[in-house]
């Protein structure tokens, strides 16, 4: 960060001329009034010619550089001091749990002077911010990347998976991954396939309300994830987030059957077509009927092929998009069709061309809830005849991730079998009544 972060042009010139830097106490005289306060950084996206100061009563205001008749430094600013907390006494006998950070913040400290939010991620800091953790686990932490959730790519899934394997080998009994919520369900699906038959719980969690506010859901999600992992009752990849808008219960969702269904609510994540695998309420864990212990050999395969597409069909869909995807040498396409698995018949020619080129084309439904059945209407039967593969009740995003994973780790001729094989509970066997 430069000494005058965010200031440009006119405002930068004014500040430079007066020898002022961020944090300094300054006095500004305008045509109509006078202000004094500490100079703050200017946000990068904002309009250029305003100077922002914090008044002595704590409020920030912006002053139009045009109106400034005089500006002068009164005194230099103080740098905030931070005294890191001490590590609490944690019982050695508690389970060893690794907490990995990928970006976003699980916990943070606020610099009230500038409003900057600094991630707090060492084990000491996490214990100090979420003291409850020390009663459940011996935690160790590692920040493995620092990318916003929407910036995450399949290669990042590979890196996370690698790190998880490393942590398993270090003897951790559970792994928690802090993740931005936007693509969290994609990552949970990716890890579910990449870490097939994972011997310990790997739980991805995050926050819908940022950690710089007292009402953040991050702490409860983190505590509940650690409690779940420390109980040593289940293995596999899961996603843990609030069950409701209340701060009492966290749902442990299957990594392949969970979806972000709301832009902002705490309970945005929901299991589709199945119940959550477990519920953590305070320190009480309830394992649901859906949980099946997996004792098969750990079989990690952590590569992903990016050149795969997810296409959402809609009225007016231009079939040339499919032709373009073929031209891009894509390996395969997941269609998000209507209803039981349909698209407009004018797409059929392009779809056939893709399949003839050796691409895998699978069908999922934009209904999200329910199963593909392409034999009911002629539109579906025609697609079946062309060679489109119905993917039962797999979620479209999960199908996409699975196809990336399949092409990343298997030969072309195996893809269809892999896609139809239920590897990480991406299919349900039965469509349960009353759900």
């Amino acid at each position: 960060m430069s000494e005058l972060s965010g200031y440009k042009n006119e405002s930068l010139k004014i500040l430079n001329n007066a020898g002022i830097s961020i944090g300094d106490l300054i006095k500004i005289t305008t045509k109509t009034t006078e202000y004094s306060g500490n100079l703050l950084p200017r946000y990068e996206y904002s309009e250029e010619n305003y100077i922002v100061i914090k008044l002595s009563n704590g409020y920030n205001i912006g002053i139009d550089a045009k109106n400034i008749t005089n500006i002068q430094k009164i005194m230099g600013g103080e740098k905030p001091k931070f005294i890191p907390p001490e590590k609490p006494n944690v019982k050695e006998s508690l389970p060893k749990i690794a907490i990995l950070g990928t970006g976003g913040t699980i916990a943070s400290r606020i610099d009230y002077k500038t409003g900057a939010v600094n991630p707090a991620f060492s084990a000491e800091e996490l214990y100090s911010i979420i003291p409850e953790l020390s009663s459940y686990a011996n935690i160790n932490t590692e920040l493995i990347s620092n990318i916003a959730s929407e910036q995450m790519n399949p290669e990042d899934w590979t890196n996370i998976a690698k790190k998880v394997i490393e942590k398993i080998n270090e003897g951790n009994q559970g792994i928690i991954i802090g993740h931005g919520t936007d693509t969290m369900a994609y990552t949970s699906a990716a890890l579910s396939f990449a870490l097939e038959n994972c011997p310990i719980p790997v739980i991805i969690t995050g926050a819908q309300r940022s950690t710089d506010r007292p009402s953040s859901d991050a702490s409860l999600n983190m505590i509940s994830s650690v409690i779940m992992a420390s109980k040593r009752v289940l293995n596999g990849v899961y996603l843990a987030m609030h069950s409701s808008i209340e701060d009492n219960e966290v749902s442990i969702h299957s990594g392949t059957r969970v979806r972000k269904n709301h832009t902002s609510k705490r309970d945005a994540f929901q299991s589709i077509g199945i119940d959550p695998i477990a519920i953590v309420n305070q320190d009480k864990v309830t394992i649901g009927e859906e949980y099946i212990k997996n004792n098969n050999q750990f079989n990690p395969k952590i590569k992903f092929e990016e050149n795969v597409s997810l296409l959402k069909f809609h009225p007016g869909f231009n079939s040339e998009i499919i032709d373009k995807i073929i031209e891009l040498d894509a390996k395969g396409i997941i269609l998000e069709g209507t209803g039981l698995g349909h698209v407009n018949s004018r797409c059929n020619k392009s779809i056939k061309k893709a399949i003839d080129n050796g691409m895998f084309v699978g069908m999922t439904s934009q209904c999200l809830q329910g199963r593909i059945k392409m034999t009911v209407y002629s539109a579906g039967r025609d697609l079946l005849n062309i060679g489109v593969i119905p993917l039962e009740d797999m979620l479209p995003e999960t199908a996409l991730v699975k196809l990336m994973w399949a092409y990343g780790n298997y030969e072309n001729k195996e893809i269809k079998n892999i896609m139809l094989n239920n590897i990480a509970r991406e299919y349900t066997e039965r469509s349960i009544l009353g759900r």
């Binding site: 205001i61 002053i63 139009d64 009230y112 409003g115 707090a120 506010r213």
Partner: protein
């Protein structure tokens, strides 16, 4: 004590709800409370600050995670109030009202406004902070000969309404949360205590000239900053009634004077900040066979008794020159903050079952001299250590002077410790909302349409509209001011009548415990329209409102019934002719003087159904025939 150095300075902070059609950061209307109720529970956790040093009480406050129950009405609250959706842009309507009030006070709007978060983790805000934004600075309020500088004018979210509270959890209703409040901070001034009420009233009326501020209980609140040493400011939060302001200021004046006297006496006795002998000891053993019921119970519950030395404080803890101002009471309200019931102190003992012998033992344990005092704290909670530390701290502060605190008013005009005064450090930017510029065009437009002053508006009511003095002031001060001004333009009913119904009749109804808050402006407008058209008789106004509030009748229903039962001219004449026939003897006897008798008889039958004027016209007409 050299009195000249100490001067009472009082600064008012007025918080006034704005009657804008939406809340400050979403499209809910906070005044329309009749949707479905939704309940949810939350926990607030303190956010971690970069700043290290803190007062033990502040640290304690910030360390407590708190459980909250919220009640939300689906009409007045949405996901934004539940902290389930980011805030929308700031309400332009509220911003315009704040700018209008700024210009009325001669304050200068800032070029770009930045919404801030002020940490408040008592649960009154679902987010754990209150959003607040400075709109303007400077300006002056003129109250008779007095000119009071305005420090700043801000817009902020109102807090939730507390329903109940105990040590473990609090329950709040969200209807009020995020209704825009304008906060006007006046500079602390030397002036007579009695003038405070006048200042508050003048400022209140200045805001009311806009016609866009809310009225009623809880819509205006005063915080008072009171200082007598010019350095340490005591903030008294949420004074709702103007009439106890004077008492509170006098109480604080006395309490703070007492603290200064204590400080000077301590200096006299040779106690200073740097030789202050802090000391405390567990004394549970001393009370193993005590007669004090309270201490006995604490020990039975495995609690502890701790004594804190008050070096050279003998006689100062219980000293009270003005009711309630003793130091002992202050320390007691401090420990209540940590969840304790109170304290015992040396100036009041032996008493309450504590014997002279026990006191002596405590004195020995603390190695007290004759002029030393002590405080006894009992309890069995984990907060014991921090409470003891706070008492020690509070005693130490006596050598320095008056500690800056936030205090709350009691009903009888005293104040109690509420929490340490939050510093400016509790404020950081609301990153969900981008700063808003206040462009020249907007400034010009607002300046052009400023409302007329209070005096001009009252003049207008009197001279142009024809209200008497009393009604003019009453309607100006009432929540129906804006409605009244609309009605006199729209409805052909005498202004005096409308004003009287909206003020006197409504006040009367609410004195009779009828909840008139349910009645909306739209409903009132309908009633006056039907009065104009003759469907509703003027005399029935009160009865209709009563019917609506008590029997939950809808206004349309009432109007329809009235229309169906409306008497035609013929019906009315029939009734009057019958009466004339019955009373013909009297008419013969008294002639025209019999009119009042006939009128009384007719109104007995027609009251509330037909306007009195119509009845009298008809009687005149029929009599003359």
């Amino acid at each position: 004590m050299d009195k000249k150095n100490y001067e009472l300075k009082v600064g008012l902070e007025i918080h006034q709800q704005l009657a804008s059609s939406t809340k400050l950061f979403c499209n809910c209307n906070g005044f329309n409370n009749n949707g479905n109720e939704v309940y949810f529970k939350r926990i607030l956790r303190p956010t971690q600050s970069e700043l290290g040093k803190t007062d033990p009480a502040a640290l304690f406050e910030s360390k407590k995670s708190k459980r909250m129950n919220y009640i939300a009405d689906t009409n007045t609250s949405c996901l934004v109030e539940a902290d389930e959706e980011p805030p929308h842009e700031i309400s332009q309507e509220a911003l315009d009202i704040a700018l209008t009030i700024s210009y009325l006070l001669g304050a200068e709007p800032v070029d770009e406004i930045h919404v801030m978060r002020k940490l408040v983790i008592d649960g009154s805000n679902t987010t754990g902070f209150q959003r607040t934004v400075i709109i303007s600075t400077g300006g002056e309020l003129h109250v008779q000969d007095l000119t009071i500088p305005v420090l700043s004018i801000s817009l902020e979210e109102d807090a939730s309404r507390i329903i109940n509270k105990n040590r473990e959890e609090s329950t709040y209703s969200l209807d009020r949360l995020s209704i825009p409040l304008i906060e006007i901070t006046l500079a602390p001034m030397k002036f007579k205590k009695e003038e405070t009420e006048k200042i508050a009233l003048t400022l209140g009326r200045l805001m009311r000239t806009t016609g866009k501020v809310a009225r009623g209980i809880g819509t205006i609140r005063q915080d008072v900053n009171i200082s007598i040493d010019g350095k340490n400011i005591i903030e008294v939060k949420g004074v709702q009634q103007l009439d106890i302001l004077t008492d509170i200021i006098e109480f604080e004046n006395q309490r703070q004077s007492n603290l200064i006297k204590i400080k000077e006496e301590l200096i006299e006795r040779g106690v200073k900040e740097d030789n202050f002998n802090i000391r405390s000891a567990e004394i549970t053993n001393i009370f193993n066979n005590t007669n004090s019921k309270l201490i006995k119970k604490v020990i039975e519950n495995n609690g502890k008794v701790i004594a804190i030395k008050a070096p050279k404080f003998r006689g100062l803890i219980g000293k009270e020159d003005h009711k309630g101002t003793r130091l002992g009471r202050d320390i007691s309200s401090l420990v209540k903050f940590f969840g304790f019931g109170g304290i015992f102190h040396s100036d009041e003992l032996p008493n309450y079952g504590i014997t002279e012998d026990e006191c002596k033992k405590v004195t020995n344990k603390l190695e007290n001299d004759d002029d030393d005092g002590f405080i006894i704290l009992t309890g069995n909670t984990e907060n014991m250590d921090v409470a003891v530390k706070s008492i020690e701290n509070r005693l130490l502060q006596c050598t320095i002077g008056i500690p800056a605190e936030t205090r709350m008013p009691t009903e009888d005009g005293m104040t109690n410790f509420m929490r340490p005064r939050p510093g400016s450090a509790r404020m950081y930017p609301e990153t969900d909302i981008i700063p808003v510029k206040i462009y020249e065009e907007k400034r010009t437009a607002i300046k052009k349409s400023l409302p007329r002053s209070y005096e001009e508006q009252i003049d207008n009511y009197k001279n142009n509209i024809g209200l008497n003095d009393k009604l003019s002031v009453q309607i100006f001060d009432s929540k129906y001011k804006t409605l009244f001004e609309k009605l006199i333009k729209k409805v052909n009913v005498p202004a005096n009548y409308i004003a009287a119904q909206l003020t006197e009749t409504m006040i009367n109804l609410s004195r009779n415990k009828i909840d008139i808050t349910k009645i909306t402006d739209i409903e009132l407008e309908k009633i006056f329209k039907e009065i104009e058209s003759g469907v509703i008789a003027k005399e029935s106004f009160e009865k209709i409102i009563e019917d609506m509030c008590q029997n939950n009748k809808k206004i349309d229903e009432i109007i329809n019934e009235m229309k169906e039962n409306k008497l035609t001219d013929e019906d009315i004449e029939k009734i009057i002719l019958k009466i004339i026939d019955m009373k013909k003897e009297i008419i013969k006897e008294k002639g025209n003087d019999s009119f009042s008798i006939l009128m009384g008889e007719a109104m007995k039958q027609l009251r509330g159904k037909v306007d009195g004027k119509i009845v009298s016209d008809k009687i005149q007409k029929l009599l003359n025939n």
